[in-house]
């Protein structure tokens, strides 16, 4: 029954899409001045239908309706309710339905929130957005339908991968998807604005909200993914440059560039083509990411369904959209208001363009690292594997000028400024940063000198962003975000350089010395839970000042039968103590890995602060 409801409501949504497509192209051709209420009703129907189908899937998961193939494959009756619900989007079919839901809701919100803008622009945005929605509806209905019947009805499902049974990961996909899907509105509306010839200040002001919204969700989505990886995968790292992670980072770079460019468009009415290109690129990267992840073309630790027919569908769909965008761009480019004013060398405009160059550079590095192996294999047949050193070696040196520009750029004025403004304060703080970094390197005996300039620009950015809080020349949200970014860079640097790792085989009662600490394996007990059995160890880590207890676990889940190790993490504002243990042999020895990670909390905190900066920009009225 649920399957039928879900299925039919998707078909009705598809029908409304086609109706909207024809009706909106009809009203554009007839140049009807008044906006048809039919468009509004069709949009409402569509949103409602997708909502119904999404909730019928959730309901099927909640009541464990195993006549549904998706539920059977991804759920189990003993699973806690929270994970039954999150399990509905923790799989390929359900996640696409979620994607579709966000698409329709966003379009609906867009439509009702733009009443003061020209009708033609609104209708054309609906038209482009419906093209995307149709693509996704067809994709769901014909290649990944979440409402397939299963007969005879099994008594029990196969369960959700325990590694996915985690609160951070339960909300990670919806948040990330809102970010991804938000870029589709940016895509459609920028094409519509291009067609209507209204790529101007007013449009920039209005689309900026959507850009910031997507950016916030994308940032938090990526953050949740890293937090999950940090404590669940048990490697002690938080970013692995895995293709699936990279795929979420690429639109982020593009969106961050767009976030800065749109401000220039809003204030100065220049960089119009570049804004449009960035909008198109951001969405193409989000879609391209879906393609890379869902088609199985990448060889990644994230194993998603590997189905070439799905891949071909997304690929064709993606390239049709890209080609459409290119055609529209070239046809309507004439309409762009030709602004002959060239920005001067020393001005905020130029500073933002410099930011964009860096963003594009980082984007290219990640893009090449992610897709180059595919290209190489198709063209020459040889296989390579690109790992963290590639990204680190290419990106870290460029962080130095990037951070330097970030410290100086926001202080410049629009249109024209001069460099003679560089005052004593700045020079002092710059010298101070160099001295501090040199002392850090000297005191802790770090062998690579390259860290000095990196630390120096990091501190310089920190000082100058702190000082900015006392000046009036830029917005609060920008100050907070830039300050947060400098915190982020510094915490990553400290974290990366001062992290210490200890690994040894120990048995109950053993004591090991590690630097100035003593690690003691105190005891081990077995705990029975509903859906897993747990082997819980108790460790005591003490130094001269204090001692902490850590209780890592090894869990044996019953459905599906899987072994996971849960790290024990003790977080303080100074550092994290990370301990994970594994069973090795039957002789009572366990492999124990202890990591001391300074300023770990600050990495998370700075990213949250970065998004808070974004959120704050809603609060201020347009100044």
């Amino acid at each position: 029954m649920l399957n039928q409801i879900g299925n039919y409501s998707l078909y009705i949504a598809l029908f409304s899409s086609f109706f909207l497509l024809f009706h909106s192209s009809y009203s554009i051709r007839n140049k009807s001045k008044s906006l048809d209420s039919k468009i509004f009703s069709a949009l409402s129907v569509q949103t409602l239908m997708v909502l119904i189908s999404f909730f019928s899937l959730i309901y099927a998961f909640v009541v464990s309706d195993f006549s549904n193939v998706t539920v059977y494959n991804n759920s189990h009756t003993t699973k806690p309710l929270f994970y039954k619900i999150s399990g509905s989007w923790g799989n390929h079919e359900g996640s696409l339905l979620l994607w579709l839901l966000v698409l329709t809701i966003f379009l609906f919100i867009f439509f009702i929130s733009t009443k003061n803008l020209s009708n033609k622009y609104r209708i054309i945005t609906v038209l482009f957005q419906e093209l995307i929605i149709i693509g996704f509806l067809l994709f769901i209905l014909f290649t990944s339908n979440p409402f397939l019947d299963l007969f005879p009805i099994p008594k029990e499902g196969t369960g959700l991968n325990p590694i996915l049974q985690d609160p951070a990961l339960a909300i990670h996909p919806p948040i990330l998807y809102i970010g991804y899907v938000g870029t589709s509105i940016i895509f459609s509306s920028s094409l519509a604005a291009l067609v209507c010839g209204m790529v101007n200040k007013i449009w920039a002001q209005h689309i900026k909200k959507w850009i910031i919204t997507s950016w916030i969700f994308l940032t938090i989505g990526i953050l949740l993914g890293s937090i999950w990886a940090y404590y669940e995968l048990g490697w002690g790292g938080f970013w692995f440059w895995d293709p699936v992670e990279n795929v979420s980072l690429m639109p982020w770079f593009c969106l961050t560039a767009l976030l800065h460019t749109i401000i220039v468009l809003e204030k100065r009415n220049i960089y119009q083509s570049w804004t449009i290109i960035l909008s198109i690129a951001t969405f193409s990267l989000s879609m391209g990411g879906t393609f890379l992840v869902r088609s199985g073309i990448l060889n990644s630790i994230h194993t998603f369904a590997n189905d070439p027919s799905r891949g071909i569908f997304i690929l064709c769909f993606l390239f049709l959209l890209v080609l459409l965008a290119i055609f529209i761009f070239f046809i309507f480019q004439k309409k762009l208001f030709k602004n002959l004013v060239k920005p001067l060398l020393v001005s905020k405009e130029t500073a933002i363009i410099v930011n964009n160059w860096f963003m594009m550079f980082f984007l290219s590095v990640v893009l090449i690292g992610t897709v180059y192996p595919i290209f190489l294999e198709v063209i020459s047949g040889s296989k390579i594997s690109i790992g963290p050193p590639f990204y680190q070696k290419l990106m870290i040196p460029f962080l130095v000028p990037f951070l330097l520009f970030m410290a100086i750029g926001p202080k410049l004025k629009w249109i024209k400024d001069n460099l003679s403004k560089i005052n004593l304060n700045q020079i002092i703080s710059f010298i101070l940063s160099i001295v501090i970094s040199y002392l850090i390197v000297k005191l802790f005996g770090i062998s690579y000198l390259f860290i000095v300039p990196l630390f120096a620009v990091g501190f310089f950015l920190l000082f100058s962003t702190i000082k900015d809080f006392f000046s009036k020349n830029s917005s609060l949200s920008q100050k907070i975000s830039h300050f947060a970014f400098s915190l982020f860079i510094l915490s990553i640097l400290f974290n990366g350089i001062f992290a210490k790792e200890f690994s040894s085989n120990m048995k109950v009662g053993d004591e090991r010395k590690f630097i100035n600490k003593v690690i003691k394996f105190e005891n081990l007990k077995i705990i029975e839970k509903d859906n897993y059995k747990s082997l819980m160890a108790s460790f005591k880590i003490s130094d001269e000042k204090r001692s902490i207890n850590l209780n890592p676990e090894v869990r044996v889940y019953n459905q599906p039968r899987t072994l996971t190790s849960e790290a024990a993490i003790n977080s303080t504002i100074y550092s994290d103590n990370f301990l994970v243990f594994n069973v090795i042999k039957d002789d009572g020895y366990y492999n124990v890995r202890y990591q001391y990670k300074p300023l770990m909390m600050w990495i998370w905190f700075s990213i949250i602060l970065l998004s808070v900066g974004g959120i704050l920009s809603y609060l201020k009225k347009n100044d």
Binding site: I297, V322, L323, I374, V378, K383, N582, V583, I584
Partner: protein, 176 residues
């Protein structure tokens, strides 16, 4: 005119990307090994599962006698089934059994071996699955009977009583 050229170049560029991705999908088995691999590459370097030391495969393959190379993973259920036969093979004592741990987490792999017993004289790791391809492997589990670099026989899927018998037969016949 310049605009037209730009347009054409961009379209060509995207068509090229499309083509490459399409081709990439076209062979979802893009890691398909060459068929007819008859000889193993003894210069392959592996890391040991337990101590991460690097080992050249050639040092492990016994000259002038048989070796077994078994590709396995802790996440692979059929590997559990074939495990008892591998233990039996090890107990024959005449044959060198090498395990290649395929796309696995170290903790899971060590746990697997400590639970079920270690049938291997040496456990090597193939974290990304690329080295197994050099053997011509298409999945896990797979077992290779090797005599002095030459692949005598390849068993796809889990070992069972009849395959075990087959291996023992081949070794016996050769000895005669």
């Amino acid at each position: 005119m310049i605009k037209k050229i730009k347009f054409v170049i961009i379209i060509l560029f995207f068509s090229f990307i499309f083509f490459v991705f399409f081709k990439g999908l076209d062979k979802p088995n893009s890691y398909l090994p060459k068929k007819n691999i008859t000889e193993i590459d003894t210069s392959l370097v592996f890391k040991n599962l337990y101590d991460q030391k690097e080992i050249v495969l050639g040092e492990l393959i016994s000259k002038n006698s048989f070796s077994i190379v078994n590709i396995w993973a802790s996440w692979c259920l059929p590997c559990r089934d074939e495990h008892e036969y591998l233990l039996k093979l090890k107990n024959l004592n005449k044959i060198n059994v090498i395990g290649i741990n395929y796309k696995d987490k170290k903790s899971n792999a060590t746990k697997f071996l400590s639970d079920l017993g270690n049938p291997y004289h040496e456990v090597l790791i193939d974290l990304d699955g690329t080295k197994s391809i050099e053997f011509g492997a298409i999945g896990v589990p797979e077992t290779y009977l090797i005599n002095n670099k030459i692949i005598v026989k390849k068993y796809i899927g889990p070992l069972d009583q009849s395959k075990l018998k087959d291996i023992i037969e081949i070794i016996k016949n050769e000895k005669k």
